[in-house]
């Protein structure tokens, strides 16, 4: 379908699953935000095709759906990295130097907050308090929460992902050679 241009195979499959689930959900406006959350959970962002799908189902215009989606911080419109980094910018984390942690991630990954690395491995976002202020400053990588962050730990976290990736690549390589 034309609507699905620009999506990869997995994303198209995920969207198809959602389309089949839609039958269960009444075409009422109150389901708009839960639906967008469902889409983002499956695809990790809201591609245009998904916006159109949701709009159609709820008999709303796509611009109306965009209007709501862009209002809320939770929704994103470009794909995040495979390892999304979220740095807490809440008050407790700020007092403990959360901005320094954010800057350090930005420097090490050579992207700014809100961006994704060209290889789509990492992306950086800020969050306002994840409720773990006792461990400030806090950063999340994927769903894993890391407390008492320090500049040294930033490098460690990135390195760990890169080592895992390298390992996986080697194993693939080994298999190919055999």
């Amino acid at each position: 379908m034309l609507m699905e241009m620009g999506l990869d195979r997995e994303e198209i499959a995920a969207l198809a699953t959602i389309r089949s689930e839609l039958k269960e959900i009444p075409a009422q406006r109150r389901y708009l935000i839960p639906l967008l959350q469902r889409v983002q959970q499956a695809l990790s962002y809201l591609p245009q095709a998904a916006i159109q799908l949701v709009a159609q189902h709820l008999h709303l215009s796509p611009s109306e759906v965009y209007g709501v989606a862009t209002f809320y911080n939770q929704f994103r419109f470009t794909p995040p990295g495979r390892h999304p980094v979220r740095v807490c910018m809440g008050t407790a984390c700020h007092v403990k130097g959360g901005d320094i942690i954010l800057e350090h991630f930005e420097r090490k990954l050579e992207i700014k907050e809100g961006e994704t690395t060209p290889d789509r491995e990492f992306s950086i976002e800020r969050v306002a308090c994840v409720g773990c202020c006792a461990l400030a400053p806090v950063a999340l990588m994927g769903d894993a929460l890391h407390g008492h962050m320090m500049t040294g730990k930033v490098e460690g976290l990135i390195l760990r992902v890169q080592i895992e990736k390298e390992k996986a690549r080697r194993e693939m390589g080994d298999r190919d050679e055999r």
Binding site: G67, N73, V95, C133, A134, L135, G147
Partner: protein, 615 residues
């Protein structure tokens, strides 16, 4: 299971009496709050279970994962009952020793017990630890005791008895009267009397009404509501049932922050269990009264904590506030009479109805009754969740419970009420927690975030921080808030960058007044508070930035030169070891020197230097 009865509640309570008194077995209560999960409590739990199996203690020892214990800075936490022995900062490798030494040989493991920094000795019993000893748990009475995923545990602690009384014995007016006697004022920030709010909604005739719970907890740096939901979700559900009966509503929503996955999971489970027991749904306790609750996940917008915006959000719209009146008690969700209360407010309701409003009002001050939960964090030793009677002084919270300021630094200010609040300096630390008294010193009670700041915190930077937050979260509907906060942020940024000009302070003050008076909702009306309160107490810091281009707290990067003061440097090398980019040159017994070419201005060395030698 069919219909729940009071006799059945009593039977469950009796059946679990020994468990609750810890008399039949040894109970290992492991904290399973978000904080402890993050520090590795789940792995500790596995190790503990393994060790118990090895020691063949499975039959006489039970491991229970509780909600947030409150002393989050010490996680992972384990409390052993009987005995109330408190273990902290546990690691996987410690667990075999705990089982062998404590459970088999009866000797608690000394090195894992809490160490009092003042007395420099270990304190084995949880209730003797100053952090806990000065508290009065009411909203948090079940934290760390019950398993939040077991409804029977809650019932065994007199759970749902308040709802039984409300549904079977009291009429709506009696419930409201009890709430009025309790003197309960909303814990979400504004402190509106809860009984009065319910009375308005009750008096609004309508076929449909709604009860909403505000679990949006938008104040960044606060985690009271998260902890209550994680530790005792049924208390909130029960409070909502009672409120529903008071105003005659049959449908409720909990608007929960999406950043709190564990709280949402436990709430969801609690709703299912309560429904299965007939404590939610139709004809509760055979009273003919029915009520159901749905969770609605917020999508990350601070302004949605505001009541009219929250309702718009549930309706599937942009979460923009609207002017009041009409008040939600008359026209709320889908234009129907609606009440909205905070998580902590609801968590208190069951006990007020069960024990009476007079019991609740027996502690507190003239105008602020009962207890309040605070989340203390920032530059303080004992970070965590505390519940104290209203009227307790801020000093007592920070020093007696919080254990004072770490690293021998000096206290500077405490921030209350987050982006809508203000800071309180040393001179006013004896202010009691009381809605009016706190407002008088220029802060607000707020929802309970208490952020302690030491001398290394720059107050201009804090004002900038909160204005950045408000500006970012402004919904954009009204001009004073949208444009005014942006202009304020620009000025504050300019000052932090060393480009401040004479007159900036006057402009900030003038803008603050206009925004406060003309903004549409609470977000804008209270948004300038952090600026005004820092100006009130720390004007000299603003002036130092503007006139001397100097940041006294050494926090504003643009105003620092990243050089080593050769008089103060003790040649210790701490900065050399800490620098992440090797920009510090240092050899044993020599002064450190920072290579400005390599320096990335990350501030790590400032934090590490204990001699104030970098400027």
């Amino acid at each position: 299971m069919g219909r729940m009865t009071v006799a059945e509640l009593e039977r469950i309570k009796t059946e679990h009496a020994e468990r609750m008194a810890f008399t039949d077995k040894t109970y290992l209560l492991l904290c399973g709050g978000t904080g402890c999960h993050a520090t590795g409590s789940l792995k500790v739990k596995d190790a503990l279970l393994d060790a118990l199996e090895q020691a063949e203690l499975g039959a006489t020892v039970d491991v229970i994962e509780t909600g947030c214990n409150g002393f989050c800075a010490m996680g992972p936490i384990l409390v052993v009952h009987p005995g109330d022995i408190f273990y902290q900062k546990l690691k996987v490798k410690d667990m075999a020793e705990v089982v062998q030494s404590h459970l088999v040989e009866g000797k608690p493991v000394e090195r894992l017990l809490y160490k009092d920094p003042a007395a420099k000795k270990r304190i084995p019993v949880q209730s003797d630890i100053p952090f806990f000893a000065h508290q009065m748990p009411r909203a948090l009475r079940n934290k760390g005791i019950i398993d939040p995923e077991q409804i029977d545990d809650y019932i065994a602690r007199d759970g749902y008895r308040g709802a039984a009384r409300a549904l079977l014995e009291l009429g709506p007016d009696d419930i409201i009267e009890e709430m009025k006697i309790s003197g309960m004022r909303g814990r979400g920030g504004a402190g509106f009397p809860t009984g009065m709010k319910w009375a308005f909604a009750k008096a609004s005739p309508s076929d449909l009404k709604y009860v909403l719970c505000n679990a949006d907890e938008g104040d960044p740096g606060a985690f009271m509501d998260r902890s209550i939901l994680e530790a005792d979700p049924h208390a909130v559900l029960e409070g909502m049932v009672i409120a529903a009966k008071a105003i005659d509503a049959h449908k409720g929503y909990i608007y929960a922050r999406t950043e709190y996955p564990l709280a949402i999971k436990r709430l969801d489970l609690a709703i299912r269990q309560a429904t299965e027991y007939g404590l939610l749904g139709e004809d509760i306790f055979g009273s003919g009264f029915g009520f159901e609750i749905e969770i609605y996940q917020g999508a990350g917008a601070f302004v949605c904590g505001e009541e009219t915006a929250l309702m718009r959000s549930i309706e599937g719209r942009r979460g923009m506030p609207r002017p009041r009146p009409p008040f939600p008690a008359h026209k709320g969700l889908w234009e129907k009479p609606t009440i909205l209360n905070n998580v902590e407010t609801f968590a208190n309701v069951p006990q007020i109805v069960r024990k009476g409003g007079a019991w609740y009002a027996s502690v507190g001050t003239d105008t602020s009754k009962g207890t309040k939960v605070f989340a203390i964090s920032g530059d303080v030793n004992n970070i965590g969740l505390v519940e104290v009677p209203m009227g307790t002084s801020l000093r007592s919270i920070i020093y007696d419970i919080g254990g004072g300021i770490p690293k021998k630094r000096k206290f500077k200010a405490v921030q209350l009420g987050g982006p809508s609040g203000g800071c309180v300096p040393e001179a006013h630390l004896d202010t009691p927690v009381d809605f009016e008294a706190i407002a008088k010193v220029g802060a607000i009670m707020g929802s309970g975030g208490v952020i302690v700041m030491d001398e290394n915190t720059c107050m201009v930077d804090m004002a900038r921080f909160f204005m950045d937050f408000i500006q970012e979260e402004s919904c954009g509907k009204c001009t004073p808030c949208r444009e005014g906060t942006r202009r304020q942020l620009q000025i504050l940024e300019k000052i932090c960058n060393g480009d401040g000009e004479p007159g900036d302070i006057d402009t900030l003050e003038a803008l603050s007044d206009t925004i406060r008076e003309t903004a549409l909702c609470g977000l804008g009306q209270t948004g300038p508070n952090p600026v005004l309160s820092t100006l009130r107490y720390f004007r000299d810091e603003f002036e130092a930035h503007i006139h001397e281009k100097r940041c006294p707290a050494k926090r504003c990067v643009s105003l620092l030169s990243f050089e080593v003061d050769t008089e103060k440097c003790t040649k210790c090398g701490a900065c050399y070891r800490a620098c992440p980019v090797d920009a510090v040159e240092w050899k044993k017994k020599e002064l450190a020197r920072i290579d400005l070419e390599k320096c990335i201005q990350c501030m790590t060395c400032f934090d590490k230097c204990r001699f104030d030698a970098i400027y």
